[in-house]
C-alpha cells in the first residue's frame, strides 16, 4: 500500500499525524501510565475500552514516537472509507488496518481476520477495541466480541495489553461539539495470553476484567 502513495502524500500524512498528536496533547495533556508493562518496542495488541471517536487518536498520541511508528489501529472500513478526508486520515495518517463489519460488503470468502493477522505477521503492533462498537451505556464495558480471542489463539506469543482510557466521556460527551481540555490518562496494564485449553467465554471474561481493573476508582460523590 505504502509504495504506491506518492511522496508528498506521505509527507502530508506525517505532518497531519504530528498535528493531531500536538492537538491531543494540548487539549487533554494526555498521559500514559505504564502500570503493567514498559513502553518498549515489542509486538503487542493493545485492547482498549471505546466510548468516543477520540479514543483511538488518544492512545495513538500517548505512545512514544518509536512505538507509534510501528502501531496500527484496527478500525471499521465503513467508517474510515466514507469520504476522501476519512480515507486519508484513517488508512494513511494512522495507518489503520481496515476491517469490514458488514458481511455483505466483503468479497466472497474473505475473512476480515485475515487483514489483522497479515498486519501482525508484518511485525506491526495493533490497537483494537474488542467491544466492537462505542459504549453508550452506563456499564464500564460492553461484552467483548470474539476477535481478541481469535488473535490470541492464532498468534499465541503476542502480548495482549489491556489499555484503559479514562475521562474521555467528560472531555467530549456524546452530542457535544466543544471538547473540554481536561486531563486524560491512558493506563496500560499487564499483558495477558490465552491459556492452554481456555475457552472463548472464559478468556473474554478474563480479558474484560483485566481491562476494567485499570479504571480509576472514582466515587463521583
Amino acid at each position: 500500500m505504502k509504495s504506491i502513495l506518492s511522496l508528498p502524500r506521505r509527507a502530508a500524512a506525517k505532518l497531519v499525524g504530528v498535528a493531531i498528536s500536538m492537538l491531543v496533547h494540548f487539549l487533554t495533556a494526555v498521559r500514559a501510565n505504564w502500570q503493567g508493562i514498559e513502553p518498549v518496542n515489542r509486538q503487542r495488541v493493545y485492547f482498549a475500552n471505546h466510548v468516543s471517536n477520540a479514543d483511538m487518536p488518544m492512545i495513538w498520541s500517548c505512545l512514544p514516537p518509536n512505538l507509534r511508528r510501528n502501531v496500527r489501529p484496527v478500525a471499521a472500513a465503513d467508517y474510515w472509507l466514507k469520504n476522501k478526508l476519512r480515507a486519508f486520515v484513517g488508512p494513511e495518517v494512522f495507518n489503520c488496518v481496515l476491517v469490514d463489519r458488514r458481511p455483505e460488503a466483503r468479497e466472497d470468502g474473505h475473512d476480515p481476520m485475515q487483514n489483522i493477522l497479515d498486519a501482525l505477521d508484518d511485525g506491526s503492533s495493533l490497537i483494537i477495541f474488542p467491544e466492537g462498537n462505542r459504549n453508550m451505556t452506563d456499564d464500564p464495558l460492553l461484552p467483548f466480541k470474539a476477535g481478541l480471542f481469535n488473535i490470541g489463539i492464532a498468534r499465541p506469543d503476542i502480548d495482549l495489553v489491556p489499555t484503559w482510557i479514562a475521562n474521555v466521556t467528560e472531555i467530549m460527551p456524546k452530542g457535544e461539539v466543544i471538547p473540554l481540555p481536561l486531563i486524560c490518562t491512558v493506563t496500560f496494564g499487564e499483558a495477558i495470553h490465552v491459556n492452554d485449553g481456555e475457552d472463548k467465554t472464559a478468556f473474554l471474561k478474563r480479558a474484560s476484567n483485566a481491562l476494567v481493573a485499570l479504571a480509576p476508582k472514582e466515587e463521583k460523590l
Binding site: 495533556a29 498521559r31 460527551p173 457535544e176 473540554l180 481540555p181 486531563i183 463521583k220 460523590l221
Partner: protein, 312 residues
Amino acid sequence: MTSTTSDLLWLFAATCGLMTALTIVGELLRIRTGDDNPVVETFMTRVRSWWAMIILFTLALVAGKVGLLVLFAFASFAALREFLTLTSKRKADHLSLALAFFVVLPLQYVFIGLGWTGLYSVFIPVYAFLMLPIVSALRGNPDRFLIRVAETQWALMITVFCLSHVPALMMMSVEGYPADRGVLLIAFLIMVVQFGDLLDFFFGRRIGKTRIIPGISAKTWEGMACGVICAAVIGGLLAWMTPFSVVGAMGMAALAATVGGFGNLVFAAIKRDRDVKDWSHLIPGQGGFVDQFDSVVFAAPVFYHVMNLIWM
C-alpha cells in the same frame, strides 16, 4: 537601556548564578552519594524544572506586558485544567465548563491587559459566579447541583481570578514608582513566596517538630516561621525592586509568605480529599502547575489589595 531593563538583567544574572550554584551542589552530591540516591535525583529534577521556569519567566518579563499576560493566561489554563479534572461535573455542565475555559479565562486576562480595574475585580466573583450556574441549570440536571457549581466557581476563583492578580500588579500606579517597573514587582512577589516555600521545606526537614495539621501535610510551625522570617529578610534585600521602604518590603514579603504557606495547606487538604498526591504531572519533579504555584496563588490577591490599601 532603561533602569528597569538593566535591573531585570541584574536580577536574571543573580538568579542564574544561584541556580548554577544549586546545580553544582547537586552534581557534587551525586558524586558523593552515587548515582541512584532518590533524594538527590529529586532535587536535580527540581533544579532542572526551576531552570526552565526561570528562563520562561525571564523571556516573558523581557517581552513585557503582553508576554506576561500570555504566560499567566497559559498558567491559568493549565491550573484550571488540573482543577476541573478533579471536580464533580455532569454532562449538563459541559457548556458552562467550556465557557469557563474558552471565554471567562481569556476575558479576565484581556481586562487586565486593558487595565479595566473595575471589571477584572468583579468579572469572575460576580458575573461568572451568576452566569455559569444559569447555563448549567438551563441544561436541566439537578443531581448534586450545588456541589457542581460551587466546585466550578472555586476552580475559577483560584486558578483564574487569584492567579491573574500576579500580572495585575503591573497595572498598579504608585507615585514615584515608574509604571514600567511593575514587572519587577511581579518578580518580587514570586521570589519571596517561592523562596519562603523552599526555606520552609528546608528548615521543616531540619528542625521541624510540631506539624500544623498532622496527617494532611508535612508542614511544621517551626519550618513555616523560618520560611516567613527568611522571606522577610529576602524581601528587605529586594526592596529596591518595589515602591516600598525596606521595612515595608519586609512586611509585604512576610505577609505574602504567611498567606502562601497557609494556602499550601488548603491545597494539601483538597488533594487529600480527592485522594491524589499531585495535581498532575506537567512539571517534572514537582507534579502539576497547581503544586508549584499554590502559595503564589493565595498570596497574589492579598498582596495586591493590601498594597492598594496602603500605598495608593
